[in-house]
């Protein structure tokens, strides 16, 4: 039984400066804890360092100062333990859906028959039966995003880092994706950090929403989301949802 109060990710006083002609201070002393199976959303305007923070957690970037610890050990670089879903299209266009889904398993030396089994399960999970041999160019934007999420889930990472995963999709597809992600999360129960500038998306999916202030990025407020699960379309119109939305907008307005 996982302990919901067990701290898994610890972000301490993280400062990040992008060097260059005009050095940009992207993060200014951010501290955050993320607990076992918690769904945390980070919202904030463009340029508030949200992406920088998750890139540091993923290990793609080394912070200028401060430390990120995963289960007590400092993060030294990318690891399949921390699955990452990108803003851009990141599924490999030269691989079929099946090969994309199997890539992480291949990288970890899982043998072929086992790979087949896991991939088949994932295809069913995201409802893409019949598309196993298709190339990404034959998929819609929403479908390829879901393939990317499933590809990360294949190796069963301990935490899922979602960097504006649905930012490039249209509003309708996005809300469909949110439902699918919410269902997936309830089924799998994972620790998740979702970065988004869509406040409704954050409330709809998360247990806790952290509001970032821009330039330099820092934590401005934290809002706990106690909406009952499973969440549905009705949730989006409930008074509690609207109340949360109002309070987050107020926080942003104070920045």
């Amino acid at each position: 039984m996982p302990d919901p109060r067990r701290r898994r990710l610890e972000i301490r006083d993280v400062v990040h400066v992008y060097e260059g002609k005009m050095a940009t201070r992207a993060l200014d002393g951010v501290s955050l804890d993320v607990h076992e199976n918690e769904f945390l959303a980070i919202v904030g305007p463009v340029g508030s360092g949200k992406t920088t923070l998750v890139r540091i957690v993923a290990g793609f970037l080394t912070p200028s100062r401060g430390v990120v610890r995963w289960d007590g050990a400092p993060v030294m670089g990318p690891s399949p333990e921390r699955g990452y879903v990108f803003q851009e299209e990141a599924i490999f266009p030269w691989m079929t859906v099946r090969d994309n889904l199997a890539f992480g398993l291949l990288a970890q030396g899982v043998e072929a028959s086992e790979r087949e089994k896991i991939v088949a399960g994932l295809v069913t999970l995201i409802g893409l039966e019949g598309y196993e041999r298709a190339y990404p160019k034959e998929l819609s934007g929403g479908m390829s995003k879901m393939v990317e999420v499933a590809r990360v889930l294949a190796t069963d990472p301990a935490i899922l880092l979602l960097d504006e995963p649905f930012g490039l999709l249209d509003a309708q597809t996005r809300s469909k994706m949110q439902d699918q992600l919410s269902r997936l999360w309830e089924e799998k129960r994972k620790t998740v950090i979702l970065v988004t500038h869509d406040i409704e998306e954050a409330i709809y999916l998360a247990d806790r929403v952290v509001v970032f202030a821009p330039r330099p990025g820092r934590v401005q407020a934290e809002v706990r989301v106690d909406l009952p699960r499973p969440r549905s379309l009705e949730t989006r119109f409930s008074p509690a949802f609207l109340e949360l939305k109002r309070s987050i907008w107020k926080e942003i307005g104070r920045a």
Binding site: P78, A90, A107, Y135, R151
Partner: protein, 273 residues
């Protein structure tokens, strides 16, 4: 065959046909007007057809094929081109790949690449003739040099242009360096490598023709051209040029076919679909 391909083929045939008709008319008028006797270097040469009509061209083609000169020349020259291409690509592509992946190697090699990039391979001809003799080796090495420089640049740029997001995705999925090279970098760079191979192929044909001008002991297309120029026999020159043109076209078509198969996964604009 799909619609657009057939349409393009038709257009090509139409333009070639129009050109052929124009040439036919020009050569018929020309053979009556142009001098048959020309001054070359130190003496007059009689009975020269400066603009041979179709009859002489066909006669010449039949002779060159029946005597076995043309088929053997094609075999020899094509063989050299393919050997030079294989050798050059086998050196250029791996070097380009590793140069793009290793900053230290890039510092060492970059000045040399820049230097050789603008040195026409033919400028190396006298040097290669001295080093490697006048036989096959220097000819093939000359082609290989030209091919290596072009494919090196293609492979280098191909690797450099691999979007960062794919490399990061592979890393965070736990891929090793070897796996990333095989499954990410290589397929992502392949379109550019193929494009550079196509350019290298054209360059290989240019190089082989000139390389064959020196000390030719075997029938080859370059030798045929040199010989025909010395006599001089314009019909032979014309047939040799047309043969080389057709061979380049055939090679390019094969290369394009390989490219299309290797990049099935790419999004294409409708015009190229």
């Amino acid at each position: 065959m799909s619609g657009p391909v057939r349409r393009r083929l038709w257009r090509a045939l139409l333009s070639l046909g129009a050109l052929a008709v124009l040439y036919g008319i020009a050569s018929q008028i020309g053979s009556a007007l142009l001098p048959r006797r020309i001054w070359m270097v130190a003496h007059y040469i009689d009975d020269v057809e400066l603009l041979p009509p179709y009859a002489s061209l066909i006669e010449e083609t039949v002779f060159l094929i029946q005597s076995g000169i043309l088929p053997r020349s094609i075999l020899v020259s094509t063989g050299r081109v393919l050997q030079g291409l294989a050798l050059g690509a086998a050196v250029g592509v791996p070097l380009g790949l590793s140069m793009a992946r290793a900053a230290r190697l890039e510092c060492l090699l970059d000045p040399w690449v820049t230097f050789f990039r603008f040195t026409p391979a033919l400028a190396l001809l006298p040097l290669y003739a001295l080093w490697f003799g006048l036989g096959e080796l220097s000819k093939i090495l000359l082609i290989a040099t030209a091919v290596a420089v072009v494919t090196l640049l293609g492979a280098y740029q191909g690797v450099r242009d691999v979007p960062r997001v794919y490399l990061e995705a592979a890393l965070s999925l736990g891929a090793s360096k070897g796996l990333i090279l095989r499954k990410i970098v290589w397929p992502a760079a392949l379109p550019q490598i193929f494009a550079s191979l196509r350019i290298a192929l054209g360059l290989a044909w240019v190089t082989v023709v000139v390389a064959e001008l020196i000390k030719a002991t075997m029938p080859s297309l370059g030798y045929l051209l040199a010989l025909a120029g010395a006599y001089p026999r314009v019909p032979t020159i014309a047939v040799a040029i047309a043969t080389i043109g057709l061979l380049v076209l055939a090679c390019d078509t094969v290369a394009l076919g390989c490219y299309a198969v290797a990049t099935r996964w790419m999004k294409r604009s409708p015009a190229h679909a």
